[in-house]
C-alpha cells in the first residue's frame, strides 16, 4: 500500500498478511456476486420456460451445465442473458458493474501485495534450528515443538533466576563466619585448600586417622572418581560412610554393624538408609555434626573433630543419658552426643 | 426338466469346490505351522523333522493336484470368474474369509488375485529365453553338453581324489590319540565314590578289617602325629597283607613329614 523506506521485516510481513486478508475478502465478494447473479439468472430462466420453452431450451441447458464452471463462461452466459429483456438487461448491467468493481479492487490489492512482497527479503536464518521449521515432514518429528517448549522454559527460568538473584542479593544472611563469603577477593585461595587436596594427601591423612584411632577402622576408596569415600567401622557398634570432596565432608550415612554399604554387585552404596531407627537418627545427627565442624580453612581439624565426635557413639548402647540417667527414651537409646563434651543425651533431653 | 441337470452340475461343482477348499486349507495350515516352527522353535528343529515337514507339504501339494485331475472335478478352466463389483471400501466378510490378508476387493488387488497369466515382464523374459533356446542348433547343443559332462567328471575326479586323502588324514588322526582310558576312569570313579587310593594309611587299616568294638576311631586329620603309633597295633592280628601295605604307605609318607 505504502512503502516507507525503513520498514522492519516483521512490519513488512504484517502488512502483507493484512493485504492477503484484504485480497481474500475481495475474492470472496466476487464469488458472492457471481452466485447472486447466477441464481437470479436461473430464476428468470425457469419462469421463461413456461412461455418460451423452445427458445430458451438451449440456454437453460448451458446454464445447468455451467453452474459450477469458471468465470469466463459465466460472463458469456451473462451476455446471452442480456438479450432477454430490457428490465433484465438493466439488472445484469448492475451485476456486471459490481463485479467489475470487485475485480478492480482485487487487481489493485494484488498489485499492492506484489509491491510489498518485493520489499520482503529472504528470511535470514539465525541458526540451524530455523531450518527445522522448513522441514516439510515436521509432523513426523516432534523436535520442533519440543525445541519451542524448551526455549520457553529457558526463558522462564532465566527470568526467575534473575528475580531470585535480586531477592537474594538484598538478603545478607550468612551461614558461616568464613571470610570467603564476605570478601571473595581476599579468600580466593581458601577454597582450594579445603576441596582441592590431592588424592595422595587425602589417603595419607585418612591412613593416619586410622592409625590414631584404636576403636575405629577407617578405609578410603574412590569408586566415584576423585571423590574419596571413607568407610568407618566403629567397634562392633556401627558403620559409617563419609563422602569427601578433597577434605570436605559432603555426605554422611550411618548404619548398623550387621548392615552393609555394598550393593549386590559389590559397589559402594552411599544412598540407602539403615533399617534401624537408631541409625537413621544418628545419620541425621551426623549430618548436623558435619556442618557444625565445618571449617574450610582447617579441613584436617574439621574431619578429625568429626571423627572424634563419631567415636563417641562407641558407647551408644551402653551409656545412659547424661540428663535423665536412663537408657531408653521413646524406646531409643541416647542418640545425641554433645559437640564439645561428647556426653550422651537423648534426642529430647538436649534442651 | 431343464432345471435338473443344471442343479446336478451345480451340486457337483459345489462339492468339488468344497473339497478343494478343504485341501487348500489343510495345506495352508501345514505351511503355517512349518513357518511357525522355523521362526520360533528353530533351536530345537532337527534335520529329520525338517524333512518330514517338507514331505507333508509336498504330499499335500500332490493330493491337491490329483484332486484337480479327477473325473469328478468339473473342468474348472471352463468357468469364468467375473468380478461384478469392485469397491474401495473395506469388506469385513472378505477380510474374515482371507484371515485379514485382503481387506478390500478393490482395483489394486484384483489384478493380482484374479490373474491367470504371468505378468507381462515375466512373459517377455520367458519369450526371450525360448527364442534363445530355439536359436541354438542341435549340433551346438550336443557339443556344449559333452563339454559340460567332461568338466563335471573332471571336477568329480578331483574331489574324489582329495576326499580319499582327507579321509585317510582323519582316520589317522582318530587312530592316533587316545583321549581317555577306561582304567583311569575306573580308578578315578573308585576314588570319588569309595575313597580308594585316597584314604590315609590309618583309616585303611580300619577299612581292611572290621573295627574292634570300643576302639577309638581315627583322630582328626589335623593331628597326624598321634596316629602313627596306633597304626601297626590296630593292624596286628588282622590281615597280614594290609599291614604290609600300611607299612609301605607309612614309610613313603615319612619323608614328607620329617622336614
Amino acid at each position: 500500500m505504502n512503502h516507507e523506506p525503513v520498514q522492519t521485516p516483521t512490519e513488512l510481513i504484517q502488512a502483507s498478511i493484512h493485504l492477503i486478508q484484504k485480497l481474500r475478502t475481495g475474492v470472496g465478494q466476487v464469488f458472492k456476486d457471481l452466485s447472486d447473479g447466477i441464481s437470479e439468472h436461473a430464476d428468470e430462466n425457469s419462469s421463461k420456460e413456461e412461455t418460451d420453452s423452445t427458445a430458451a431450451s438451449s440456454s437453460t441447458k448451458d446454464a445447468a451445465k455451467d453452474k459450477n464452471s469458471t468465470i469466463s463462461s459465466q460472463n458469456q452466459k451473462e451476455g446471452s442473458g442480456t438479450e432477454k429483456s430490457e428490465d433484465q438487461q438493466e439488472k445484469h448491467r448492475a451485476i456486471l458493474r459490481t463485479l467489475k468493481r470487485s475485480l478492480e479492487t482485487i487487481s489493485h490489492d494484488f498489485s499492492d501485495l506484489e509491491k510489498t512482497g518485493g520489499h520482503l527479503g529472504p528470511v535470514h536464518m539465525l541458526s540451524n534450528i530455523d531450518y527445522l521449521s522448513l522441514d516439510p515432514v515436521d509432523k513426523n518429528t516432534v523436535m520442533h515443538p519440543q525445541l519451542l517448549q524448551a526455549y520457553k522454559w529457558t526463558n522462564k527460568m532465566h527470568e526467575l533466576a534473575n528475580q531470585a538473584f535480586t531477592v537474594l542479593s538484598q538478603n545478607s544472611l550468612k551461614r558461616t563466619q568464613s571470610p570467603f563469603f564476605t570478601s571473595a577477593k581476599k579468600q580466593k585461595g581458601s577454597l582450594p585448600v579445603a576441596c582441592l587436596v590431592p588424592p595422595v594427601a587425602v589417603d595419607t591423612f585418612v591412613h593416619n586417622l586410622d592409625q590414631s584411632n584404636v576403636d575405629m577402622s577407617i578405609s578410603i576408596s574412590r569408586p566415584l572418581g576423585s571423590c574419596g569415600v571413607m568407610q568407618i567401622d566403629l567397634k562392633r557398634t556401627l558403620r559409617a560412610v563419609v563422602v569427601l570432596r578433597g577434605l570436605m565432608i559432603e555426605w554422611v550415612k550411618v548404619k548398623g554393624f550387621d548392615e552393609t554399604f555394598k550393593t549386590e554387585d559389590g559397589q559402594i552404596d552411599i544412598w540407602s538408609s539403615s533399617r534401624y531407627q537408631v541409625f537413621q537418627k544418628i545419620t541425621d545427627h551426623a549430618e548436623a555434626a558435619s556442618l557444625h565442624y565445618y571449617a574450610p580453612a582447617k579441613p584436617e581439624i574439621a574431619i578429625k573433630s568429626f571423627v572424634l565426635w563419631l567415636e563417641g557413639f562407641s558407647t551408644l548402647f551402653s551409656a545412659p543419658c547424661h540428663k535423665c540417667g536412663k537408657h531408653l527414651q521413646n524406646n531409643m537409646p541416647p542418640t545425641w552426643r554433645d559437640f564439645r563434651s561428647r556426653e550422651p543425651f537423648h534426642d529430647v533431653c538436649r534442651m | 426338466m431343464m432345471q435338473a441337470p443344471q442343479t446336478k452340475e451345480e451340486k457337483q461343482l459345489d462339492s468339488s469346490l468344497d473339497d478343494l477348499i478343504h485341501r487348500v486349507r489343510e495345506l495352508k495350515q501345514s505351511i503355517a505351522s512349518f513357518i511357525y516352527k522355523l521362526e520360533n522353535d528353530y533351536q530345537n528343529i532337527t534335520w529329520p523333522s525338517l524333512m518330514e515337514s517338507f514331505g507333508v507339504l509336498s504330499s499335500g501339494l500332490s493330493t491337491t493336484k490329483r484332486l484337480l485331475k479327477t473325473e469328478k472335478m468339473p473342468l474348472l478352466r471352463n468357468y469364468v470368474l467375473f468380478p461384478i463389483l469392485l469397491s474401495p471400501d473395506r469388506d469385513p466378510h472378505l477380510e474374515k474369509l482371507t484371515e485379514g490378508r485382503v481387506l478390500a476387493f478393490n482395483h489394486e488387488v484384483v489384478p493380482d488375485y484374479l490373474r491367470t497369466k504371468p505378468e507381462p515382464e515375466v512373459e517377455e523374459k520367458v519369450q526371450l529365453l525360448s527364442v534363445k533356446a530355439s536359436s541354438i542348433t542341435p549340433e551346438m547343443a550336443q557339443k556344449q553338453l559333452t563339454m559340460l559332462n567332461k568338466i563335471t567328471s573332471n571336477v568329480l575326479d578331483l574331489i574324489n581324489a582329495s576326499s580319499d586323502v582327507l579321509d585317510k588324514d582323519s582316520s589317522q588322526k582318530n587312530a592316533l590319540p587316545q583321549t581317555s582310558s577306561a582304567s583311569e576312569t575306573n580308578m578315578l570313579i573308585a576314588a570319588v565314590t569309595k575313597g580308594m587310593r585316597l584314604r590315609r594309611p590309618e583309616p585303611q587299616v580300619q577299612m581292611g578289617g572290621p573295627q574292634m568294638p570300643g576302639m577309638p576311631g581315627p583322630p582328626q586329620p589335623q593331628q597326624p602325629a598321634p596316629q602313627k603309633p596306633q597304626m601297626p597295633g590296630s593292624g596286628i592280628g588282622r590281615m597280614q597283607s594290609t599291614v604290609k601295605t600300611n607299612i609301605k604307605a607309612a614309610a613313603s609318607s615319612h619323608p614328607y613329614q620329617r622336614p
Binding site: - | S181, E184, L188, T193, K194, P213, P221, Y256
Partner: protein, 214 residues
C-alpha cells in the same frame, strides 16, 4: 508368612535324584574337551567357570558288631578359592544301574548348605573322617545338565590344602554329567544320552556300575 510359621520342620522334602554319567579324559586332551564343552554349553561367551574344592568324606557306622557293614557317608565340601561360600554336606545314595532302557545311573542326592563348623559337628555326632581329597577343575551347565571336568588330588600331609601339598591322582581328569531332579523324570536320561553322544569320541560318558569297580 503363615506357611513359614506353620511348623517349618514338617515341610515335606521332595526326594531329589541325581542322574549321572561318568567318564575321564587324559590331561593332555583336557583343553580340547573344554573347548568343545564351551561350545556345547550355555554361556559360551564366558570363559569356563573353575572350581577348587576340598571334600572330606565322613563315615558313621554302628558300634555293635552285628551291623559292622552298615555305614553312612556324608561328603563335606567347601570351596578353597571362595572362602565366603558356605560349606555343604552331600548325601549320596547307592547308585542304581537299572535296566538297559535307562541311560544313566540314578542315586538319591541331598545337598545341604551349612555353617563352617560342620566338620567338628559331625565328629561330635560320631562321624569319623574316612578320606579326603581336593578337586580342581571346571564346571559347565546346559539347561539343568551340569558337566564337571576335574582333577583329583591327594593330600600328602593331612589337613593342608595348599598346592605344594597336593599330589595328583592318575593322569586323567574325571568328567561327570549330572542332573539333580525329582524322582521319575526319565526323559532327562535321553537328554543326557544325546549330550554324551556329542562328546564322543573324545570322552565316552557311561553309566559305570560302582559295585563292580574295585
Amino acid at each position: 508368612m503363615e506357611a513359614a510359621v506353620l511348623a517349618p520342620s514338617l515341610k515335606s522334602i521332595a526326594p531329589q535324584q541325581e542322574y549321572l554319567l561318568q567318564g575321564s579324559i587324559l590331561d593332555a586332551h583336557r583343553d580340547v574337551l573344554l573347548h568343545r564343552l564351551r561350545g556345547l554349553c550355555d554361556n559360551a561367551e564366558n570363559s569356563p567357570e573353575s572350581f577348587n574344592d576340598y571334600e572330606a568324606v565322613y563315615m558313621l557306622r554302628n558300634s555293635s558288631t552285628t551291623q559292622q557293614s552298615q555305614f553312612v557317608l556324608f561328603r563335606v565340601r567347601h570351596a578353597l578359592d571362595r572362602p565366603d561360600a558356605p560349606a555343604h554336606i552331600r548325601y549320596l545314595g547307592q547308585a542304581e544301574v537299572g535296566d538297559r532302557g535307562r541311560h544313566t545311573l540314578v542315586r538319591a542326592c541331598l545337598d545341604v548348605a551349612c555353617s563352617p563348623n560342620v566338620r567338628d559337628f559331625l565328629m561330635e555326632m560320631g562321624f569319623r573322617l574316612d578320606h579326603d581329597y581336593v578337586a580342581q577343575g571346571f564346571f559347565f551347565h546346559k539347561g539343568r545338565m551340569k558337566v564337571t571336568v576335574y582333577k583329583i588330588f591327594k593330600l600328602q600331609q593331612p589337613g593342608k590344602t595348599d598346592q605344594s601339598n597336593l599330589e595328583p591322582l592318575g593322569s586323567s581328569h574325571l568328567v561327570e554329567l549330572s542332573v539333580v531332579a525329582p524322582l521319575g523324570q526319565e526323559q532327562i536320561g535321553d537328554d543326557m544320552k544325546n549330550f554324551a553322544e556329542q562328546l564322543k569320541p573324545l570322552v565316552s560318558l557311561e553309566k559305570v556300575d560302582h559295585r563292580r569297580i574295585q
